[in-house]
Symmetry: D2
Subunit: 343 residues, 4 copies
Amino acid sequence: MSNQLRIGLLGLGRIGKLHAANIAAFADKAVVAAAADPLADGDIARFADGLGISDLSKDPYDVINNPDVDALFICSSTATHAEFIIAGAKAGKHIFCEKPIHTDPAKIREALDTVKECGVKLQVGFVRRFDHNHKKVRDVVASGRLGAPHTVKVTSRDPDIAPLSYLETSGGIFMDMTIHDFDMVRYLVGSEATEVTAYGSVLINPEIKAFGDADTVVVAMKFENGALGVIDNSRRAPYGYDQRTEVLCEKGCVRAENDLNDTATISTVEGVEAAKPTWFFLERYNQAFIDETLAFTDAVLNDKDTPVTGEDGLQPVYMALAAEKSMREGRPVKLSEVKGETE
Amino acid sequence: MSNQLRIGLLGLGRIGKLHAANIAAFADKAVVAAAADPLADGDIARFADGLGISDLSKDPYDVINNPDVDALFICSSTATHAEFIIAGAKAGKHIFCEKPIHTDPAKIREALDTVKECGVKLQVGFVRRFDHNHKKVRDVVASGRLGAPHTVKVTSRDPDIAPLSYLETSGGIFMDMTIHDFDMVRYLVGSEATEVTAYGSVLINPEIKAFGDADTVVVAMKFENGALGVIDNSRRAPYGYDQRTEVLCEKGCVRAENDLNDTATISTVEGVEAAKPTWFFLERYNQAFIDETLAFTDAVLNDKDTPVTGEDGLQPVYMALAAEKSMREGRPVKLSEVKGETE
Amino acid sequence: MSNQLRIGLLGLGRIGKLHAANIAAFADKAVVAAAADPLADGDIARFADGLGISDLSKDPYDVINNPDVDALFICSSTATHAEFIIAGAKAGKHIFCEKPIHTDPAKIREALDTVKECGVKLQVGFVRRFDHNHKKVRDVVASGRLGAPHTVKVTSRDPDIAPLSYLETSGGIFMDMTIHDFDMVRYLVGSEATEVTAYGSVLINPEIKAFGDADTVVVAMKFENGALGVIDNSRRAPYGYDQRTEVLCEKGCVRAENDLNDTATISTVEGVEAAKPTWFFLERYNQAFIDETLAFTDAVLNDKDTPVTGEDGLQPVYMALAAEKSMREGRPVKLSEVKGETE
Amino acid sequence: MSNQLRIGLLGLGRIGKLHAANIAAFADKAVVAAAADPLADGDIARFADGLGISDLSKDPYDVINNPDVDALFICSSTATHAEFIIAGAKAGKHIFCEKPIHTDPAKIREALDTVKECGVKLQVGFVRRFDHNHKKVRDVVASGRLGAPHTVKVTSRDPDIAPLSYLETSGGIFMDMTIHDFDMVRYLVGSEATEVTAYGSVLINPEIKAFGDADTVVVAMKFENGALGVIDNSRRAPYGYDQRTEVLCEKGCVRAENDLNDTATISTVEGVEAAKPTWFFLERYNQAFIDETLAFTDAVLNDKDTPVTGEDGLQPVYMALAAEKSMREGRPVKLSEVKGETE
């Protein structure tokens, strides 16, 4: 490989475009050499052209099999991730794949096995690990200066609920939304969950009851190392994207607050006003999206481990399945139960 | 009754002394007319003398039956609360009783029934309801301006674990410590819990495993109104008493942070330092202890409802029993199950 | 002297009452043995009676000459302070005197000389030195861990402008209001000012132009040790009492923010709301008023230096006179100039 | 002009490179068509090549007279700014010029007159106006919702003092550093200063005494609208770049704090640690540098007024001259005095 990574991008939807733009603007050592999208006309073609991506196809296999491509960014629909990972690995490409790899652990395992056999690198797009705030929490815990973790808390709320059409095919709140938080608790605590209990309510959009989903959930959990955890999610926090993490350890506690739009406060006789959190994930995780791209480029070019592995892509799926089962059956679900069923 | 409330105080331990001193210093309309403590010599006698309490006995019934006493402050050991409530009510005294009334709901019910029959007022010492921060959270929720509550979160951690001798007879972490938080979630959400799931770990003092207690717990719960809740407790937060509350509602979120020792920050090349939370409950709830006393005095003198009723004393005990059962049996426990067993 | 300090209180206006109540409630080792006020009837008599002050007179000399009194609290009108200090010192009483001792440095010097000759202790009521926030700033600077102070900043704003009748006889904003901040900068920096420049505007109540006062001022200054300083005052900050201090030092910066009414924040689609600062000096400096009383009691009973000396009472008066002169004459005024004129 | 702005960049030092990179990455409607730098070899040539700038010269007039260039970015040394503005304006180019235009108001006036005659647009690089925090303060004041401004405060401190070689030719702290803050107070208050008084000390590097400069200054000032102001500067705040603004108005106060590296806090028995401010101006004003570029592009392409005018470039120079004179002569200096001398 040359000293520049040649990337083939699969899928030019919102996230694909974001990665393409970030690579163009910020990744000195990477370039988007080719891209594919089933709708590779009109807007998408103009977007690719604007970034100087000359090799644009409607067929993903044009990119996967392109000898001029070193690595794939898989930003296509979730259902295609595992297939493209397998094909890409077999074609000798390193792979960055958006989360989740699949909702079926067996399919994920198959993809991970192929990646391993083919000796390529894989990074999963759990972008929040690159957020400056969460990363600081994790770094403090991982440094050991606070001793063993005792309790981890993650608050994760979207600014507004997605349209019903999206929610209906989202895979449910645990697989669609909490999966980021399942990754986060693992990342922060450095241990695997052994059991989860999930409570869910429909408090925002009653129509989602029709397909058995919830819009407000609380998940309690235990970890192998004895730590306890809790995640609270809401599909709608009207004040903005609420993303906070906290780990209580033996010798102290580390917490991260939201980023705010600005630091100004306005004090009047009515009270004190401050800015709201940055609106949504594109604002809050703007730099993190850039940084995960740089980290992947660095891992491939310098033959390092990727900072989010295939295993990191698999474990949160087990947690989501266990949480879903817990909510539906009204009982705690051990991770071993879910792993046994599906492996 | 005159326009001054004449109080008889049962128990001059730490909390009894605190109430006595607060009444003396801050309650213009109340006076400690009599007190009893089994150890009413030496230090306790000097303390009483210093406050001008001339009528001091070793026998609580001297106070309970004292015709010169309008109301009792029951600050004796937990095991005696229900008995003294019943005796006091029968003697026509209004009653302020420290929490919990009893650990057996049947005994509490008997006491509450007697209070009702005798037509006296009863206030339970859930002092945190009077904290300026938690109260603000509750007032905002109760005002309805944020719409229905969706998720309630309570973090409650002691600065250090109590001695083993204390823990051994404490009734367990749920009855001894979480009970305040069970009261708090009811207070904040304005609804009754229907089910709880509790996880507990022993991460601070391994010796408590001997009597089946935990020192680190997470409790998830559902409420009648659909809201979800979570409490996290630790017997030791080395940075101080950590008492935070939060309610996410339909139209917004209200959160309270800790009070700090001071507002100063020190910025150096090493970083920015700020003050820790106030050390423990006597510092944090200093004003709240005064205010609950004033509220009780006001309720009795002006024939208002007390702000923390006998029912408020009973419900958290059910929650503690359910949490204990959930942790021991590894399953969610409905409140109805606990109520059915014990009523 | 016995192990209890017997205090004679001169003046039972707002501040006199506050001190009397604090001594009664919080000073175990002090008691108000006698008090005098020209209006010692009605409300004042009832107030004294409620605190158990049996010896109440209309003549201050009844208290000053009372052999049963160890120390005086001078809370009468400013014009009487120096006279009462002199008389009290000659009568062998230790003295706590409200600020300022006088607006004429010569009169202050005379009082201080008498105090010195008579060998009694004197503490001046610069209560803000006892505030937990400002004290933390000062302690950090005084500890030397941040090296030499370079810049000191004090923001001090009242929540609302006083009535014209008060302002007219207040001695002007520098002597009435900034004097506290002149004390504060000396306390924080640990050095004497050598020169001040003051700018003033009338932006709140145009009627004060009639007597040459300002309601909004900025004072810049230099200190002997090379540090620079700035004070900004306003007679009206509609959001409440704004009291902040900051010292930039060689190795870092220490800053204190306001105390707030509570720590709750409310996040909605409109923004984030927080509590205002505590309303005015009785709320903000509530504990500081208690602590200065305890410090005085301790200094007298245990023969220590008082924490705010007579010299501390004099220097801010020079600074106020220099600031006044600077504003009126439109030029920097050296402290030596003011001291030369008046000594 | 086409719908894309063709920019000629003069000077590819640190700021020139920053603008070039920002235009390339973020300005969809602008492109760097040509550049000039006296050292246009080696690193600079590689930099230009990396951004696709093919037209690179050592002679600025190659760019100024390039018919293919619509607008100039003047990022060369200060001494050349006025000359290039005049030449550029005569060549019909719109101009973005780094601050200050010149240290001699007469030269600035000549440049502004030429700009006016030639009918081109001019924007001066006071980048802090585009900072999200300061801009919020200004927008709140300018909205009028808080009424008239009474007091403006600006704290502006560099993380570390520049090398002596830089300081010696910097023009002095007022012209080099405070000039940004002079622009800021004008921006925030919306009025012109009428008089300033400056105090300066040498507390960081004693060697600067040799050329009469100061490293720690406080500047107090009055505005036409009656408002008062204060700026405090330090060449070294070891904890990082300290940039705070505050305006007290008739009906309230608006303040902006620093941006921090992250929002995490670490609480231990030793205290609470938080992140420091972002290190220096490239970090703190990163987005602001982008936004001023976009604003200039928008102003030119859509024929709007630029948000920082030539007059905005001139007034702070007067203020810097007056402050310098005040510090040297130990007296307040009216702006009219400085304007009279030099116009």
